[in-house]
Symmetry: C2
Subunit: 300 residues, 2 copies
Protein backbone atom coordinates (compact mmCIF):
# COMPACT_ATOMS: atom_id res chain seq x y z
CA UNK A 1 0.00 0.00 0.00
CA UNK A 2 1.38 3.35 -1.01
CA UNK A 3 0.23 6.49 0.76
CA UNK A 4 1.64 9.74 -0.51
CA UNK A 5 1.59 12.96 1.41
CA UNK A 6 2.81 15.45 -1.12
CA UNK A 7 1.81 16.14 -4.66
CA UNK A 8 5.50 16.58 -5.52
CA UNK A 9 6.32 13.03 -4.53
CA UNK A 10 3.60 11.69 -6.79
CA UNK A 11 4.76 13.79 -9.71
CA UNK A 12 8.34 12.61 -9.29
CA UNK A 13 7.22 9.02 -9.00
CA UNK A 14 5.37 9.30 -12.27
CA UNK A 15 8.06 11.24 -14.07
CA UNK A 16 10.60 8.59 -13.11
CA UNK A 17 8.31 5.95 -14.49
CA UNK A 18 7.87 7.91 -17.73
CA UNK A 19 4.14 7.61 -17.29
CA UNK A 20 1.21 9.87 -17.88
CA UNK A 21 -0.32 11.07 -14.63
CA UNK A 22 -3.92 11.95 -14.00
CA UNK A 23 -4.51 12.85 -10.41
CA UNK A 24 -7.05 14.52 -8.23
CA UNK A 25 -5.42 16.10 -5.22
CA UNK A 26 -6.35 18.23 -2.30
CA UNK A 27 -4.99 18.93 1.11
CA UNK A 28 -7.00 17.80 4.06
CA UNK A 29 -5.49 18.70 7.38
CA UNK A 30 -6.30 15.88 9.71
CA UNK A 31 -4.35 15.35 12.88
CA UNK A 32 -2.03 18.11 11.66
CA UNK A 33 -0.95 16.13 8.58
CA UNK A 34 -1.76 17.01 4.99
CA UNK A 35 -3.33 14.19 2.96
CA UNK A 36 -3.78 13.77 -0.71
CA UNK A 37 -6.84 12.02 -1.94
CA UNK A 38 -7.37 10.90 -5.46
CA UNK A 39 -6.32 8.35 -7.96
CA UNK A 40 -3.21 7.93 -10.01
CA UNK A 41 -4.01 6.36 -13.33
CA UNK A 42 -0.90 4.58 -14.53
CA UNK A 43 -2.10 3.37 -17.88
CA UNK A 44 -0.34 0.59 -19.75
CA UNK A 45 -1.62 2.31 -22.88
CA UNK A 46 0.48 5.36 -22.06
CA UNK A 47 3.58 3.17 -22.12
CA UNK A 48 2.52 1.51 -25.39
CA UNK A 49 1.79 4.90 -26.96
CA UNK A 50 4.89 6.59 -25.54
CA UNK A 51 7.53 4.48 -27.28
CA UNK A 52 10.33 6.36 -29.00
CA UNK A 53 13.76 5.06 -29.99
CA UNK A 54 16.39 6.44 -27.60
CA UNK A 55 19.89 6.85 -29.04
CA UNK A 56 21.49 9.04 -26.34
CA UNK A 57 21.97 7.80 -22.80
CA UNK A 58 22.91 9.16 -19.38
CA UNK A 59 26.17 7.87 -17.97
CA UNK A 60 24.28 5.92 -15.29
CA UNK A 61 24.09 2.22 -14.58
CA UNK A 62 20.87 0.22 -14.49
CA UNK A 63 20.65 -1.63 -11.18
CA UNK A 64 20.78 -5.41 -11.20
CA UNK A 65 17.44 -5.43 -9.36
CA UNK A 66 15.72 -3.41 -12.09
CA UNK A 67 17.39 -5.45 -14.83
CA UNK A 68 16.07 -8.66 -13.27
CA UNK A 69 12.55 -7.21 -13.04
CA UNK A 70 12.73 -6.42 -16.76
CA UNK A 71 13.99 -9.91 -17.62
CA UNK A 72 11.30 -11.54 -15.46
CA UNK A 73 8.61 -9.58 -17.32
CA UNK A 74 10.06 -10.87 -20.58
CA UNK A 75 10.02 -14.46 -19.44
CA UNK A 76 6.23 -14.30 -18.91
CA UNK A 77 5.63 -13.74 -22.66
CA UNK A 78 3.79 -16.38 -24.69
CA UNK A 79 6.05 -19.06 -26.05
CA UNK A 80 5.27 -21.75 -28.62
CA UNK A 81 4.38 -24.96 -26.75
CA UNK A 82 5.91 -23.26 -23.65
CA UNK A 83 9.26 -24.45 -25.04
CA UNK A 84 10.85 -21.04 -24.36
CA UNK A 85 13.13 -21.49 -27.34
CA UNK A 86 15.14 -18.32 -26.74
CA UNK A 87 18.07 -16.98 -24.77
CA UNK A 88 18.72 -13.44 -23.58
CA UNK A 89 22.29 -12.15 -23.51
CA UNK A 90 23.08 -9.16 -21.31
CA UNK A 91 26.32 -7.45 -22.39
CA UNK A 92 27.93 -4.68 -20.33
CA UNK A 93 31.64 -5.36 -20.79
CA UNK A 94 33.39 -2.48 -22.58
CA UNK A 95 35.68 -4.63 -24.70
CA UNK A 96 32.83 -6.81 -25.88
CA UNK A 97 30.70 -3.74 -26.61
CA UNK A 98 33.53 -2.30 -28.72
CA UNK A 99 33.50 -5.43 -30.86
CA UNK A 100 29.69 -5.42 -31.04
CA UNK A 101 29.75 -1.74 -32.04
CA UNK A 102 31.48 -2.70 -35.30
CA UNK A 103 29.08 -5.61 -35.91
CA UNK A 104 26.18 -3.21 -35.28
CA UNK A 105 27.41 -0.93 -38.09
CA UNK A 106 28.98 1.66 -35.77
CA UNK A 107 25.77 2.64 -34.04
CA UNK A 108 26.89 4.80 -31.10
CA UNK A 109 24.23 3.42 -28.71
CA UNK A 110 26.13 0.15 -28.45
CA UNK A 111 29.01 1.98 -26.76
CA UNK A 112 27.04 4.70 -24.99
CA UNK A 113 24.25 2.68 -23.36
CA UNK A 114 25.18 0.75 -20.20
CA UNK A 115 23.48 -2.43 -21.43
CA UNK A 116 23.07 -4.25 -24.71
CA UNK A 117 20.39 -6.97 -24.81
CA UNK A 118 20.52 -9.63 -27.52
CA UNK A 119 17.55 -11.98 -27.89
CA UNK A 120 18.37 -15.23 -29.67
CA UNK A 121 16.38 -18.12 -31.11
CA UNK A 122 17.72 -21.02 -29.00
CA UNK A 123 17.00 -24.74 -29.39
CA UNK A 124 20.44 -25.65 -28.07
CA UNK A 125 19.17 -25.85 -24.48
CA UNK A 126 16.11 -27.89 -25.40
CA UNK A 127 18.13 -30.30 -27.56
CA UNK A 128 20.49 -30.99 -24.65
CA UNK A 129 17.47 -31.68 -22.44
CA UNK A 130 16.02 -34.06 -25.04
CA UNK A 131 19.36 -35.92 -25.28
CA UNK A 132 19.54 -36.37 -21.51
CA UNK A 133 16.00 -37.82 -21.54
CA UNK A 134 16.46 -40.33 -24.37
CA UNK A 135 14.01 -38.43 -26.55
CA UNK A 136 14.39 -37.91 -30.33
CA UNK A 137 16.48 -34.78 -30.87
CA UNK A 138 15.48 -32.54 -33.77
CA UNK A 139 14.45 -28.84 -33.86
CA UNK A 140 17.30 -28.36 -36.31
CA UNK A 141 15.11 -27.15 -39.18
CA UNK A 142 13.73 -23.90 -40.57
CA UNK A 143 10.37 -24.15 -38.78
CA UNK A 144 12.19 -24.50 -35.46
CA UNK A 145 14.29 -21.44 -36.27
CA UNK A 146 11.13 -19.42 -36.97
CA UNK A 147 9.51 -20.62 -33.73
CA UNK A 148 12.62 -19.50 -31.84
CA UNK A 149 12.70 -16.18 -33.71
CA UNK A 150 9.06 -15.43 -32.82
CA UNK A 151 9.57 -16.53 -29.19
CA UNK A 152 12.64 -14.28 -28.89
CA UNK A 153 10.80 -11.29 -30.38
CA UNK A 154 7.83 -11.65 -28.02
CA UNK A 155 10.19 -11.77 -25.01
CA UNK A 156 12.11 -8.75 -26.34
CA UNK A 157 8.96 -6.66 -26.60
CA UNK A 158 7.80 -7.59 -23.08
CA UNK A 159 11.22 -6.60 -21.73
CA UNK A 160 11.12 -3.38 -23.76
CA UNK A 161 7.78 -2.33 -22.28
CA UNK A 162 8.80 -3.24 -18.73
CA UNK A 163 11.96 -1.16 -19.23
CA UNK A 164 10.09 1.83 -20.65
CA UNK A 165 7.61 1.58 -17.80
CA UNK A 166 10.55 1.94 -15.40
CA UNK A 167 11.76 5.09 -17.16
CA UNK A 168 14.46 3.48 -19.30
CA UNK A 169 14.92 4.04 -23.02
CA UNK A 170 16.00 1.69 -25.78
CA UNK A 171 16.64 1.43 -29.49
CA UNK A 172 16.05 -1.77 -31.47
CA UNK A 173 18.84 -2.52 -33.94
CA UNK A 174 18.10 -4.41 -37.15
CA UNK A 175 21.82 -5.13 -37.41
CA UNK A 176 21.29 -7.87 -34.81
CA UNK A 177 19.90 -10.14 -37.53
CA UNK A 178 21.55 -8.52 -40.56
CA UNK A 179 25.01 -9.25 -39.10
CA UNK A 180 23.99 -12.29 -37.07
CA UNK A 181 27.15 -14.16 -38.06
CA UNK A 182 29.52 -11.51 -36.62
CA UNK A 183 27.40 -11.03 -33.51
CA UNK A 184 27.10 -14.77 -33.01
CA UNK A 185 30.87 -15.09 -33.09
CA UNK A 186 31.43 -12.25 -30.60
CA UNK A 187 28.79 -13.63 -28.22
CA UNK A 188 30.16 -17.16 -28.53
CA UNK A 189 26.90 -18.73 -29.72
CA UNK A 190 26.84 -22.53 -30.08
CA UNK A 191 24.89 -24.32 -32.87
CA UNK A 192 21.10 -23.81 -32.77
CA UNK A 193 21.45 -20.32 -31.33
CA UNK A 194 20.91 -17.28 -33.64
CA UNK A 195 20.63 -13.57 -32.72
CA UNK A 196 17.24 -12.17 -33.81
CA UNK A 197 16.54 -8.79 -32.19
CA UNK A 198 18.53 -6.61 -29.84
CA UNK A 199 18.58 -3.16 -28.34
CA UNK A 200 20.63 -0.71 -26.32
CA UNK A 201 19.18 0.01 -22.89
CA UNK A 202 19.72 2.77 -20.34
CA UNK A 203 18.47 6.04 -18.89
CA UNK A 204 17.51 8.45 -21.72
CA UNK A 205 19.49 11.64 -22.28
CA UNK A 206 17.16 12.83 -25.04
CA UNK A 207 13.43 13.13 -25.53
CA UNK A 208 12.79 12.98 -29.27
CA UNK A 209 9.28 13.52 -30.67
CA UNK A 210 7.13 10.47 -31.48
CA UNK A 211 7.75 9.13 -35.00
CA UNK A 212 4.89 9.33 -37.45
CA UNK A 213 2.90 6.21 -38.25
CA UNK A 214 0.80 5.26 -41.27
CA UNK A 215 -2.93 5.66 -40.57
CA UNK A 216 -4.72 2.66 -39.06
CA UNK A 217 -6.92 2.10 -42.13
CA UNK A 218 -3.76 1.66 -44.20
CA UNK A 219 -2.51 -1.16 -41.98
CA UNK A 220 -5.66 -3.02 -40.95
CA UNK A 221 -7.85 -5.20 -43.16
CA UNK A 222 -11.28 -6.50 -42.21
CA UNK A 223 -12.19 -10.14 -42.87
CA UNK A 224 -9.67 -10.69 -45.69
CA UNK A 225 -6.81 -8.73 -47.25
CA UNK A 226 -8.13 -5.91 -49.40
CA UNK A 227 -5.38 -5.07 -51.84
CA UNK A 228 -4.57 -1.39 -52.36
CA UNK A 229 -5.43 0.73 -55.41
CA UNK A 230 -2.91 3.38 -56.49
CA UNK A 231 -5.19 6.08 -55.11
CA UNK A 232 -5.32 4.34 -51.73
CA UNK A 233 -1.52 4.05 -51.59
CA UNK A 234 -1.11 7.75 -52.34
CA UNK A 235 -3.62 8.64 -49.63
CA UNK A 236 -2.10 6.27 -47.01
CA UNK A 237 1.44 7.61 -47.58
CA UNK A 238 0.48 11.28 -48.07
CA UNK A 239 1.50 12.50 -44.60
CA UNK A 240 4.61 10.33 -44.50
CA UNK A 241 5.71 11.58 -47.92
CA UNK A 242 5.69 15.12 -46.54
CA UNK A 243 6.94 14.55 -42.98
CA UNK A 244 9.55 11.97 -43.92
CA UNK A 245 10.99 14.16 -46.65
CA UNK A 246 11.06 17.17 -44.28
CA UNK A 247 12.88 15.05 -41.67
CA UNK A 248 15.71 14.46 -44.15
CA UNK A 249 15.77 18.06 -45.39
CA UNK A 250 16.05 19.40 -41.83
CA UNK A 251 19.37 17.61 -41.22
CA UNK A 252 22.11 19.32 -43.32
CA UNK A 253 24.21 16.16 -43.73
CA UNK A 254 21.23 14.11 -44.95
CA UNK A 255 20.00 16.95 -47.16
CA UNK A 256 23.42 17.09 -48.85
CA UNK A 257 23.44 13.32 -49.38
CA UNK A 258 19.95 13.49 -50.88
CA UNK A 259 20.98 16.24 -53.29
CA UNK A 260 24.19 14.49 -54.31
CA UNK A 261 22.25 11.35 -55.19
CA UNK A 262 19.59 13.39 -57.02
CA UNK A 263 16.76 11.89 -54.93
CA UNK A 264 13.35 13.43 -55.47
CA UNK A 265 11.19 11.89 -52.75
CA UNK A 266 11.14 9.78 -49.59
CA UNK A 267 10.55 6.52 -51.47
CA UNK A 268 13.77 7.06 -53.42
CA UNK A 269 15.66 7.77 -50.17
CA UNK A 270 14.48 4.38 -48.88
CA UNK A 271 15.70 2.20 -51.74
CA UNK A 272 18.51 4.24 -53.32
CA UNK A 273 20.22 5.54 -50.15
CA UNK A 274 19.01 3.57 -47.14
CA UNK A 275 18.11 0.00 -48.09
CA UNK A 276 19.65 -0.94 -51.42
CA UNK A 277 18.88 -4.17 -53.22
CA UNK A 278 22.58 -5.11 -52.97
CA UNK A 279 22.69 -4.72 -49.19
CA UNK A 280 19.50 -6.76 -48.80
CA UNK A 281 20.83 -9.52 -51.04
CA UNK A 282 23.94 -9.59 -48.89
CA UNK A 283 22.00 -9.70 -45.60
CA UNK A 284 19.68 -12.40 -46.95
CA UNK A 285 22.63 -14.60 -47.78
CA UNK A 286 24.35 -13.84 -44.47
CA UNK A 287 21.29 -15.00 -42.56
CA UNK A 288 20.62 -18.07 -44.73
CA UNK A 289 24.28 -19.13 -44.57
CA UNK A 290 24.34 -18.63 -40.81
CA UNK A 291 21.17 -20.72 -40.42
CA UNK A 292 22.95 -23.50 -42.32
CA UNK A 293 26.06 -23.11 -40.12
CA UNK A 294 23.99 -22.99 -36.91
CA UNK A 295 22.27 -26.27 -37.76
CA UNK A 296 18.82 -24.89 -38.57
CA UNK A 297 18.41 -25.99 -42.20
CA UNK A 298 17.91 -29.75 -42.02
CA UNK A 299 14.54 -29.76 -43.70
CA UNK A 300 14.43 -33.23 -45.25
Amino acid sequence: MIVLHYNLIIQNLCRNKGIFLDIGYDFLFISNKPFIWGVIVLELNDVLHGHKSIREYEDKDVSQELLEQILDAGIRASSSGNMQSYSIIVTKDKELKKKLYTAHMDQSMVIDAPILLTFCADFNRMRKWLTLNDAPVHFDNFMSFMIGAIDATLVAQNCALAAENAGLGLCYMGSTLANCNQIGEILNLPPNVVPIVGYSLGYPKENPPLRDRLPRHGLVHYEQYNDYSNEEILEIYKDRDEKGWKRYMDIPKLKEMTEQLGLKNLAQIYTIAKYTQESHHQFSNTVLDYLEKQNYMNNK
Copy 2:
Protein backbone atom coordinates in the same frame (compact mmCIF):
# COMPACT_ATOMS: atom_id res chain seq x y z
CA MET B 1 -9.27 13.67 -13.32
CA ILE B 2 -10.92 10.67 -11.73
CA VAL B 3 -12.31 10.96 -8.24
CA LEU B 4 -13.80 7.83 -6.78
CA HIS B 5 -16.11 7.83 -3.81
CA TYR B 6 -16.50 4.17 -3.08
CA ASN B 7 -14.03 1.41 -2.67
CA LEU B 8 -16.37 -0.85 -4.65
CA ILE B 9 -16.16 1.33 -7.74
CA ILE B 10 -12.39 1.16 -7.65
CA GLN B 11 -12.39 -2.59 -7.24
CA ASN B 12 -14.74 -3.03 -10.19
CA LEU B 13 -12.69 -0.69 -12.32
CA CYS B 14 -9.62 -2.75 -11.66
CA ARG B 15 -11.30 -6.12 -12.04
CA ASN B 16 -12.64 -5.06 -15.44
CA LYS B 17 -9.16 -4.08 -16.46
CA GLY B 18 -7.78 -7.40 -15.24
CA ILE B 19 -5.26 -5.50 -13.15
CA PHE B 20 -3.73 -5.97 -9.76
CA LEU B 21 -4.91 -3.34 -7.32
CA ASP B 22 -2.94 -1.89 -4.46
CA ILE B 23 -4.86 0.79 -2.67
CA GLY B 24 -4.85 2.74 0.52
CA TYR B 25 -8.36 3.79 1.39
CA ASP B 26 -10.24 5.41 4.16
CA PHE B 27 -13.48 7.24 4.59
CA LEU B 28 -13.33 10.85 5.57
CA PHE B 29 -16.65 12.50 6.00
CA ILE B 30 -16.29 16.05 4.85
CA SER B 31 -19.29 18.14 3.89
CA ASN B 32 -21.34 14.98 4.34
CA LYS B 33 -19.53 13.16 1.53
CA PRO B 34 -17.26 10.17 1.98
CA PHE B 35 -13.84 10.51 0.36
CA ILE B 36 -11.24 7.96 -0.44
CA TRP B 37 -7.65 8.94 -0.25
CA GLY B 38 -4.82 6.89 -1.51
CA VAL B 39 -3.26 5.67 -4.66
CA ILE B 40 -4.25 3.03 -7.14
CA VAL B 41 -1.19 1.40 -8.60
CA LEU B 42 -2.16 0.01 -11.98
CA GLU B 43 1.09 -1.61 -12.88
CA LEU B 44 2.00 -2.53 -16.42
CA ASN B 45 4.05 -5.26 -14.82
CA ASP B 46 0.87 -6.88 -13.54
CA VAL B 47 -0.39 -7.19 -17.11
CA LEU B 48 2.96 -8.56 -18.28
CA HIS B 49 3.03 -11.06 -15.44
CA GLY B 50 -0.64 -11.99 -15.73
CA HIS B 51 -0.58 -13.48 -19.24
CA LYS B 52 -2.25 -16.86 -19.70
CA SER B 53 -3.50 -18.41 -22.92
CA ILE B 54 -7.31 -18.25 -23.04
CA ARG B 55 -9.04 -20.99 -25.03
CA GLU B 56 -12.65 -20.53 -23.84
CA TYR B 57 -14.59 -17.38 -24.57
CA GLU B 58 -17.82 -15.68 -23.53
CA ASP B 59 -20.40 -15.29 -26.28
CA LYS B 60 -19.90 -11.53 -26.26
CA ASP B 61 -18.68 -9.17 -28.95
CA VAL B 62 -15.71 -6.87 -28.60
CA SER B 63 -16.77 -3.32 -29.41
CA GLN B 64 -15.30 -1.64 -32.47
CA GLU B 65 -14.08 1.17 -30.21
CA LEU B 66 -12.08 -1.21 -28.01
CA LEU B 67 -10.77 -3.11 -31.02
CA GLU B 68 -9.49 0.15 -32.53
CA GLN B 69 -7.79 1.10 -29.25
CA ILE B 70 -6.01 -2.26 -29.32
CA LEU B 71 -4.95 -1.84 -32.94
CA ASP B 72 -3.72 1.71 -32.28
CA ALA B 73 -1.55 0.44 -29.41
CA GLY B 74 -0.07 -2.13 -31.79
CA ILE B 75 0.73 0.46 -34.42
CA ARG B 76 2.97 2.34 -31.95
CA ALA B 77 5.38 -0.61 -31.74
CA SER B 78 8.95 -0.26 -32.99
CA SER B 79 9.29 -1.01 -36.70
CA SER B 80 12.47 -1.46 -38.73
CA GLY B 81 13.26 1.86 -40.44
CA ASN B 82 9.68 2.88 -39.54
CA MET B 83 8.67 0.97 -42.69
CA GLN B 84 5.78 -0.72 -40.87
CA SER B 85 6.17 -3.78 -43.04
CA TYR B 86 3.15 -5.59 -41.65
CA SER B 87 -0.61 -5.85 -42.04
CA ILE B 88 -3.21 -6.82 -39.46
CA ILE B 89 -6.24 -8.82 -40.57
CA VAL B 90 -9.32 -8.80 -38.35
CA THR B 91 -11.61 -11.75 -39.11
CA LYS B 92 -15.07 -12.07 -37.57
CA ASP B 93 -17.10 -13.62 -40.40
CA LYS B 94 -18.41 -17.08 -39.45
CA GLU B 95 -17.86 -18.70 -42.84
CA LEU B 96 -14.27 -17.45 -43.02
CA LYS B 97 -13.62 -18.58 -39.44
CA LYS B 98 -14.91 -22.05 -40.33
CA LYS B 99 -12.34 -22.28 -43.11
CA LEU B 100 -9.61 -20.89 -40.85
CA TYR B 101 -10.54 -23.42 -38.15
CA THR B 102 -9.39 -26.23 -40.44
CA ALA B 103 -6.20 -24.38 -41.39
CA HIS B 104 -5.55 -23.82 -37.68
CA MET B 105 -5.65 -27.58 -37.05
CA ASP B 106 -9.18 -27.60 -35.58
CA GLN B 107 -8.38 -25.37 -32.61
CA SER B 108 -11.80 -24.51 -31.15
CA MET B 109 -10.82 -20.93 -30.26
CA VAL B 110 -10.95 -19.97 -33.94
CA ILE B 111 -14.69 -20.66 -33.96
CA ASP B 112 -15.52 -19.72 -30.37
CA ALA B 113 -13.74 -16.38 -30.04
CA PRO B 114 -15.48 -13.38 -31.63
CA ILE B 115 -12.27 -12.17 -33.30
CA LEU B 116 -9.28 -13.74 -34.98
CA LEU B 117 -6.27 -11.47 -35.55
CA THR B 118 -3.65 -12.42 -38.14
CA PHE B 119 -0.42 -10.41 -38.26
CA CYS B 120 1.40 -10.65 -41.60
CA ALA B 121 4.80 -9.62 -42.90
CA ASP B 122 3.81 -7.18 -45.66
CA PHE B 123 6.05 -5.46 -48.21
CA ASN B 124 3.26 -5.40 -50.79
CA ARG B 125 2.06 -1.99 -49.63
CA MET B 126 5.58 -0.51 -49.56
CA ARG B 127 6.46 -1.92 -52.99
CA LYS B 128 3.37 -0.26 -54.50
CA TRP B 129 4.41 3.02 -52.89
CA LEU B 130 7.93 2.67 -54.30
CA THR B 131 6.53 1.98 -57.79
CA LEU B 132 4.34 5.09 -57.68
CA ASN B 133 7.38 7.17 -56.71
CA ASP B 134 9.79 5.93 -59.39
CA ALA B 135 12.01 4.31 -56.76
CA PRO B 136 13.79 0.96 -57.17
CA VAL B 137 11.39 -1.77 -56.03
CA HIS B 138 12.90 -4.66 -54.12
CA PHE B 139 12.16 -6.03 -50.60
CA ASP B 140 11.46 -9.36 -52.30
CA ASN B 141 14.19 -11.28 -50.48
CA PHE B 142 14.65 -13.32 -47.32
CA MET B 143 16.01 -10.42 -45.22
CA SER B 144 12.91 -8.39 -46.08
CA PHE B 145 10.69 -11.30 -45.06
CA MET B 146 12.46 -11.48 -41.69
CA ILE B 147 12.13 -7.73 -41.17
CA GLY B 148 8.41 -8.03 -41.86
CA ALA B 149 8.12 -11.06 -39.58
CA ILE B 150 9.79 -9.23 -36.68
CA ASP B 151 7.72 -6.08 -37.29
CA ALA B 152 4.50 -8.14 -37.31
CA THR B 153 5.45 -9.94 -34.08
CA LEU B 154 6.22 -6.70 -32.22
CA VAL B 155 2.86 -5.25 -33.27
CA ALA B 156 1.09 -8.47 -32.24
CA GLN B 157 2.57 -8.36 -28.75
CA ASN B 158 1.65 -4.69 -28.24
CA CYS B 159 -1.93 -5.48 -29.31
CA ALA B 160 -1.96 -8.52 -27.01
CA LEU B 161 -0.97 -6.49 -23.97
CA ALA B 162 -3.42 -3.69 -24.75
CA ALA B 163 -6.15 -6.34 -25.08
CA GLU B 164 -5.23 -8.07 -21.82
CA ASN B 165 -5.10 -4.69 -20.09
CA ALA B 166 -8.71 -4.17 -21.19
CA GLY B 167 -9.79 -7.52 -19.71
CA LEU B 168 -9.71 -9.56 -22.93
CA GLY B 169 -8.05 -12.93 -23.34
CA LEU B 170 -6.18 -14.44 -26.25
CA CYS B 171 -4.31 -17.51 -27.42
CA TYR B 172 -1.41 -17.34 -29.88
CA MET B 173 -1.56 -20.09 -32.52
CA GLY B 174 1.64 -21.43 -34.07
CA SER B 175 -0.48 -22.82 -36.88
CA THR B 176 -0.54 -19.28 -38.33
CA LEU B 177 2.97 -19.80 -39.69
CA ALA B 178 2.97 -23.62 -39.88
CA ASN B 179 0.01 -23.54 -42.30
CA CYS B 180 0.74 -20.10 -43.77
CA ASN B 181 -0.08 -21.33 -47.28
CA GLN B 182 -3.65 -22.39 -46.39
CA ILE B 183 -4.25 -19.28 -44.27
CA GLY B 184 -2.82 -17.05 -46.98
CA GLU B 185 -5.26 -18.49 -49.48
CA ILE B 186 -8.28 -18.08 -47.19
CA LEU B 187 -7.32 -14.50 -46.34
CA ASN B 188 -6.64 -13.67 -49.99
CA LEU B 189 -3.04 -12.55 -49.45
CA PRO B 190 -1.24 -11.06 -52.47
CA PRO B 191 2.51 -11.62 -53.13
CA ASN B 192 4.87 -10.24 -50.46
CA VAL B 193 2.35 -10.86 -47.70
CA VAL B 194 2.86 -13.87 -45.35
CA PRO B 195 0.99 -14.74 -42.10
CA ILE B 196 3.42 -14.85 -39.15
CA VAL B 197 1.53 -14.85 -35.83
CA GLY B 198 -2.13 -14.83 -34.93
CA TYR B 199 -4.47 -15.26 -32.02
CA SER B 200 -8.06 -15.65 -31.00
CA LEU B 201 -9.43 -12.68 -29.03
CA GLY B 202 -12.44 -12.18 -26.80
CA TYR B 203 -13.78 -12.05 -23.26
CA PRO B 204 -12.41 -15.00 -21.21
CA LYS B 205 -14.74 -17.72 -19.99
CA GLU B 206 -11.98 -19.49 -18.07
CA ASN B 207 -9.23 -18.50 -15.69
CA PRO B 208 -6.50 -21.12 -15.99
CA PRO B 209 -3.46 -21.03 -13.69
CA LEU B 210 -0.25 -19.38 -14.92
CA ARG B 211 1.96 -21.78 -16.89
CA ASP B 212 5.33 -22.64 -15.40
CA ARG B 213 8.45 -21.01 -16.80
CA LEU B 214 12.09 -22.11 -16.75
CA PRO B 215 14.08 -20.21 -14.09
CA ARG B 216 15.65 -16.90 -15.13
CA HIS B 217 19.23 -18.16 -14.74
CA GLY B 218 18.46 -20.89 -17.30
CA LEU B 219 17.43 -18.32 -19.92
CA VAL B 220 19.74 -15.37 -19.35
CA HIS B 221 23.47 -15.20 -20.09
CA TYR B 222 25.82 -12.47 -18.92
CA GLU B 223 28.32 -10.91 -21.34
CA GLN B 224 28.47 -13.93 -23.69
CA TYR B 225 26.63 -17.22 -24.12
CA ASN B 226 27.68 -19.68 -21.44
CA ASP B 227 26.89 -23.12 -22.81
CA TYR B 228 25.15 -25.56 -20.47
CA SER B 229 26.69 -28.57 -18.76
CA ASN B 230 24.54 -31.69 -18.33
CA GLU B 231 24.17 -30.90 -14.63
CA GLU B 232 22.95 -27.39 -15.41
CA ILE B 233 20.37 -28.70 -17.89
CA LEU B 234 19.02 -31.18 -15.33
CA GLU B 235 18.76 -28.43 -12.72
CA ILE B 236 17.12 -25.90 -15.09
CA TYR B 237 14.48 -28.41 -16.26
CA LYS B 238 13.93 -30.08 -12.86
CA ASP B 239 10.65 -28.34 -11.97
CA ARG B 240 9.33 -28.54 -15.52
CA ASP B 241 10.10 -32.26 -15.72
CA GLU B 242 7.85 -32.80 -12.72
CA LYS B 243 5.09 -30.25 -13.36
CA GLY B 244 4.90 -30.87 -17.09
CA TRP B 245 4.64 -34.64 -16.63
CA LYS B 246 1.95 -34.18 -13.95
CA ARG B 247 0.01 -31.87 -16.31
CA TYR B 248 -0.23 -34.72 -18.85
CA MET B 249 -1.00 -37.36 -16.23
CA ASP B 250 -3.88 -35.29 -14.79
CA ILE B 251 -5.79 -35.36 -18.09
CA PRO B 252 -7.13 -38.93 -18.70
CA LYS B 253 -7.05 -38.65 -22.52
CA LEU B 254 -3.44 -37.43 -22.53
CA LYS B 255 -2.42 -39.98 -19.91
CA GLU B 256 -3.81 -42.77 -22.08
CA MET B 257 -1.97 -41.44 -25.15
CA THR B 258 1.26 -41.27 -23.17
CA GLU B 259 0.87 -44.85 -21.97
CA GLN B 260 -0.02 -46.17 -25.43
CA LEU B 261 3.12 -44.63 -26.89
CA GLY B 262 5.21 -45.91 -23.96
CA LEU B 263 6.52 -42.44 -23.15
CA LYS B 264 8.59 -42.16 -19.99
CA ASN B 265 9.09 -38.44 -19.48
CA LEU B 266 8.08 -34.95 -20.63
CA ALA B 267 10.94 -34.68 -23.12
CA GLN B 268 9.67 -37.79 -24.93
CA ILE B 269 6.14 -36.34 -25.00
CA TYR B 270 7.56 -33.27 -26.76
CA THR B 271 9.31 -35.02 -29.67
CA ILE B 272 7.49 -38.35 -29.97
CA ALA B 273 3.88 -37.15 -29.48
CA LYS B 274 3.73 -33.39 -29.85
CA TYR B 275 6.36 -32.11 -32.28
CA THR B 276 7.69 -34.91 -34.45
CA GLN B 277 10.61 -34.51 -36.81
CA GLU B 278 8.30 -35.39 -39.72
CA SER B 279 5.80 -32.63 -38.89
CA HIS B 280 8.58 -30.09 -38.54
CA HIS B 281 10.15 -31.11 -41.84
CA GLN B 282 6.76 -30.64 -43.43
CA PHE B 283 6.16 -27.22 -41.84
CA SER B 284 9.68 -26.09 -42.78
CA ASN B 285 9.03 -26.92 -46.42
CA THR B 286 5.55 -25.38 -46.34
CA VAL B 287 6.99 -22.08 -45.12
CA LEU B 288 10.01 -22.10 -47.47
CA ASP B 289 7.81 -22.98 -50.49
CA TYR B 290 5.33 -20.28 -49.54
CA LEU B 291 8.14 -17.70 -49.24
CA GLU B 292 9.17 -18.65 -52.78
CA LYS B 293 5.56 -18.37 -54.00
CA GLN B 294 5.00 -15.05 -52.17
CA ASN B 295 8.05 -13.50 -53.85
CA TYR B 296 10.34 -13.37 -50.83
CA MET B 297 13.24 -15.55 -52.00
CA ASN B 298 15.02 -13.47 -54.64
CA ASN B 299 18.36 -13.42 -52.88
CA LYS B 300 20.78 -12.94 -55.77
